[in-house]
């Protein structure tokens, strides 16, 4: 009986081995006739070229786009979070309540984020700190949605009459460079002072319902960087003017942002220069 079982297993084993060898041989010989076409590499390079172009484009736009998005969330919607989209997504979130109420607490905020910033309590044109100091948690994610880098940013809100502006500071991410961020050419005004370049723009910020369909005109506006569209889940479309002035100093990204402001480009640039020239 034992012999018989062994015989069956041996026979079975041989058959399995024969089948295994045959399948391996057939798949191997068939496969050798398959060669990658020359066009395949070209198609891959084209796809990568498109991604790299988008990535550069995103880097150019992100400084303004994300700052305006964060400002919109804080100033318009009273929300706490906003994200830029593209090859990389940038998210900044803050608490609704200010982390520190008074300007004298700025040093505590700086200690918390781990770096020092330039800031003023009152601007010479009358904007005063009103809304305290907030610490934001900033995240940059890759296309797969994975966190690439995190950091803490500082936001200060100022008011003058009916105008609110948000002053944002964060460090440059390692994937960003000063040169890349300012390649973007659609600035309305660019000025230099003490080796710092200040970039000003006034763009259209359009808040649309979730079912809004982007028009050709929208696409052209977004492509040029002069239009930003935000889906807010509401029913109506609202168009506002987004004001932005940004600069980079000592590896930190600064911006002052507001909506439908009653101040001129020169006045906003003046506010930026005031901050940059007063390192505390």
């Amino acid at each position: 009986m034992k012999k018989s079982v062994n015989f069956i297993f041996c026979k079975k084993r041989k058959e399995w081995d024969r089948m295994d060898a045959e399948i391996a041989e057939v798949l191997g010989s068939m496969s050798k006739r398959i060669e990658a076409s020359k066009e395949l590499k070209g198609r891959i390079d084209n796809r990568l070229g498109t991604f790299m172009k988008e990535e550069r484009s995103m880097s150019r736009f992100n400084m303004k786009k994300v700052a305006i998005g964060v400002a919109a969330a804080c100033l318009l919607a009273g929300m706490v979070c906003i994200a830029g989209t593209g090859i990389k997504s940038y998210t900044g979130s803050t608490s609704v309540r200010a982390d520190y109420e008074n300007f004298t607490d700025l040093a505590k905020a700086e200690e918390k984020v781990g770096y020092r910033i330039d800031a003023v309590e009152t601007f010479s044109n009358g904007f005063v700190l009103d809304g305290g100091i907030r610490i934001s948690d900033e995240v940059v994610r890759n296309q797969a949605g994975q966190k690439e880098e995190t950091q803490k940013g500082i936001n200060l809100k100022y008011r003058k009459g009916e105008d609110d502006v948000l002053f944002l500071v964060r460090k440059l991410y390692s994937c960003e460079s000063e040169a890349m961020m300012f390649e973007y050419s659609a600035w309305d005004k660019v000025e230099q002072e003490n080796g710092i370049t200040f970039y000003y723009s006034r763009d259209t910020y359009k808040t649309v319902p979730d079912d809004y369909e982007i028009t050709e005109e929208d696409k052209a506006g977004m492509e040029s960087g002069k239009l930003q569209i935000a889906y807010d889940g509401g029913q109506d479309t609202e168009v506002q003017q987004a004001y932005y002035v940004g600069w980079i100093k000592d590896g930190k990204v600064y911006s002052i942002n507001g909506f439908d402001l009653s101040i001129s480009a020169d006045e906003m640039l003046g506010m930026a220069k005031e901050v940059a020239g007063c390192g505390n």
């Binding site: 058959e15 399995w16 399948i23 068939m30 990658a36 198609r43 796809r47 990568l48 890759n142």
Partner: protein
Amino acid sequence: MEKTELVRQLKAGDKAAFDALYEKYKNILLRMAYLVSGQMDDAEDIVQETFVKCYLHIGELKKEEGFQPWLFQILYRTAYRQIKKRKREIPDEDVGMRTDATDGITSLDRIIRTEEEQMVYSAVQALDFKHRAVVVMFYYNEMSMREIAKVLGCTEGTVKSRLFTARKKLRKSLAWKEGGGEDEKKRELYLL
């Protein structure tokens, strides 16, 4: 240059390293993609997507030594999605009509030349994706259970079980070649 060095350079953003890795892997991946998808058009699409993902996500690869299983994993996941997409777009009954024909010679005619090849190819293609993937890695890539498990993100036990089922099905499909159907019952008994 060593593969791990190329991967290290690719992680640093060196496009030339990517081109060199493409040359090393293009045919291996294309052949795997073809065997697992059964369509030359799909195979090229799968390989294209695999290399694009490889370039874009290389930063997520922790150890350079793990490049090959990581690349194969991308290929199989991409293939799975591509096959699912194709099934939605082309119903099963129409798949046979889509023969990638050019000048009356189909891509299959170019690749499959003998009756034996046709039989093995058909038997492999008749398997479902998860079994076919294991069969391709086991027979074509000659990978161990452990390596296959790493690529598929499952346990070695699962790979063994899938391979056992796949071999059983292949054996049944290829049975007539072994001498007709009368031994089939006996073989089934051996397997049990």
